[in-house]
Symmetry: C2
Subunit: 406 residues, 2 copies
């Protein structure tokens, strides 16, 4: 890859405005808020335009100017990004959304969008000299960070609830991570990580406790804009647990707007949650700027079982600033949407991805999504990572059978 | 997508030379051999060159001239193809292969290379007016054909051994296919399919019993050539069950050579099998042109448990014509290669993909792969589709734990 400059300038606290040096290891702001990467977009605009992208590799690394990695040598890549945007014509007809699309993050290393955060996060950790990182996970993030850490030669210490998808355990362990299980939620795992990183001086790779994962997630927004020919869709639906994805997409769109790549009104961003764990929806309905811990959370969409997100205020800001909304759907609707998408469109999505299709149908029914608007469902992972979400009785045949059976 | 001509001309029997009309449904040749698609490469060469590919979408459909689908309307796509080629620097150092690469077919809809055959095969079936198709499968092909059939609106009748990976069952069933299990091998399933398609007039989508799946697989070869800047690598290793992949890659390379896209000696093609099911290796060692049924076959690499492939003579031809070879590795080496790749490179491959890494190491040791040669491992699928191949004991933590445990 040819050397392209990163225009990352510093780290900035979105709550108190404090700034931090970009080439030092920082976790949270002194005020307790996550830090975000700021770019010198004025300077970037002089050297970077839509034409610059022509002929670049179709991976998230095509947006090097808007990523924090300084030296190409530190890029840890498995070819992630530029996932397909697929028209859903039949599902669109069924749901009354004539311009319906899915961006399929199942088509990426590790099978979920978590690969983006891990690729950029691990690359930066390597660049900053980190040797050991640790994180709590509902499964897929831990798998992705284990995989990319292996490639980078870093040690990953991963703690996940015992109920996390079993495939992700194997990914972590196969990649040589130090993996532990906890009889509890991701929030319980997070507390162990917090104590352990403090004790050992490890890098804390928990959601939004380091500023780079979100830069990887941001590329979903960059790609949507480019894949739609820099004319952004009207609505983007996103399954929201920790919320880094939706915050990243919002960050991408505002940066692109400042750069002059896109114009006009931003897409309305929709945070979709499961009814069994919907702290953001509750906060949105009460027009609050932060959420409260959601007690006894439970949903079939395990990846969005996050009772209180550290970046909740950023998620809500993204929603409010784009005239978006937050909506919850129940598990029954999620499972039925999962089957409907697979049977109608051949898109076998994760339960979180199914939730957003269910939500889109509700929002169209309520006319929040208007006739003729273009709508993107961001499917965060492949259905194959959740083999036990659906179950089927499959009949046996004798070796001398002829179909159809009579 | 703009309209680009397909230069498919007719179907041709590689055994007896009989030709068949391309726009009719044909299965095997009257002589019992598979049929292959012939292209008018002279005419294609006048209108199609390397420059034509610039700016086209990064999917297998960028090679429309060399694919059999006539009308864009019939393309059934989920964004498949142009999978990443990733350098394996550390594994290369370990194994003494300084230019080692993996082409990762895990990064594709359904998580395996079977998506390519299904995308092109189902598109053509739709174009030819097929309503119901049926096939035996070791799992992944059936999953892919179910998924693409759902998208196309075709009925798929899938029969698989009960030992096939359980995730693939769910994919077939979720996509609404008629799925059946058999206590036996894929060859037993194949016999039921043969009887049933005859009884009902269904389209037989079994490996090489229709001529289009291989055209989809062929795109792996087209991509490797393009991704290596039209200077092909010295060696390509491929895990060989039914053998359509290696035959497809050989077909791609010969077509590209005739078109003038590549020059000189073709890459040496290596068919890798498991010791527990190695009919091609046995035939190669005896310098035969066909294989014999391999009795009591058994291997952890389920996808290549094919005791007798219909296209065995084409596989052996591809090997002989390119000065390639066939090699078997045992299950122990496969499992150890799987872990080594994940831990060293972060590439979590399927057991079949692990087999080719194990084979590459053997071939380097024997100096069949020479110092400084460039070697491509074609990993046919994602490790996440085989959650039970590896097992790990994962320790539990109490909620008040601090790491490291003492």
């Amino acid at each position: 890859m040819s050397k392209i400059n990163s225009f990352a300038k510093n780290l900035r606290c979105p709550k108190c405005g404090r700034e931090y040096e970009i080439n030092e290891i920082h976790q949270l702001c002194e005020c307790g808020s996550p830090l975000l990467v700021s770019y010198d977009l004025k300077e970037a605009a002089k050297q970077f335009n839509k034409e610059s992208l022509k002929g670049r590799e179709k991976s998230l690394w095509r947006y090097r100017e808007l990523l924090p990695v300084q030296d190409d040598e530190n890029i840890v890549s498995l070819g992630e990004g530029f996932t397909p945007v697929i028209p859903l014509k039949k599902a669109g007809e069924k749901s009354g959304i004539s311009k319906l699309f899915i961006k399929d993050e199942g088509v990426i290393p590790t099978g979920t969008f978590k690969a983006r955060g891990a690729a950029v996060g691990v690359s930066r950790a390597k660049e900053l000299g980190v040797k050991v990182l640790s994180m709590p996970t509902n499964g897929n993030a831990g798998a992705a960070w284990s995989i990319y850490s292996a490639r980078a030669g870093l040690k990953a210490v991963i703690i996940m609830p015992e109920d996390a998808p079993s495939i992700t355990r194997n990914e972590c362990a196969a990649a040589g991570a130090d993996l532990y299980l906890v009889k509890g939620l991701i929030s319980d795992c997070g507390k162990i990580v917090a104590r352990s990183v403090k004790e050992n001086g490890w890098f804390d790779a928990s959601t939004l406790k380091e500023p780079y994962r979100i830069e990887g997630k941001k590329t979903m927004g960059l790609e949507i804009a480019e894949q739609f020919g820099w004319k952004t869709p009207d609505v983007i639906l996103y399954p929201t647990g920790g919320g880094v994805g939706i915050v990243g997409i919002y960050k991408a769109l505002t940066e692109l707007k400042e750069l002059g790549f896109i114009e006009g009104k931003l897409p309305r961003l929709v945070a979709v949650q499961a009814e069994g764990c919907s702290p953001i929806v509750k906060a949105y309905n009460e027009r609050k700027n932060e959420s409260e811990f959601f007690e006894d959370s439970k949903t079939v969409a395990f990846g969005i079982n996050v009772p209180k997100a550290l970046g909740d205020f950023l998620v809500l800001e993204a929603i409010y600033k784009t005239d978006g909304c937050a909506i919850a759907v129940d598990d029954e609707k999620i499972l039925s949407a999962l089957k409907e998408l697979a049977q109608t469109e051949g898109t076998f999505v994760c339960p979180e991805g199914a939730a957003i299709y269910a939500a889109a149908k509700e929002l169209r029914k309520d006319n929040w999504i208007k006739e003729g608007e273009s709508v993107v469902l961001l499917n965060t992972g492949a259905g194959i990572k959740y083999p036990d979400t659906l179950s089927f009785d499959v009949p046996y045949l004798e070796k001398d059978a002829v179909l159809p059976l009579r």
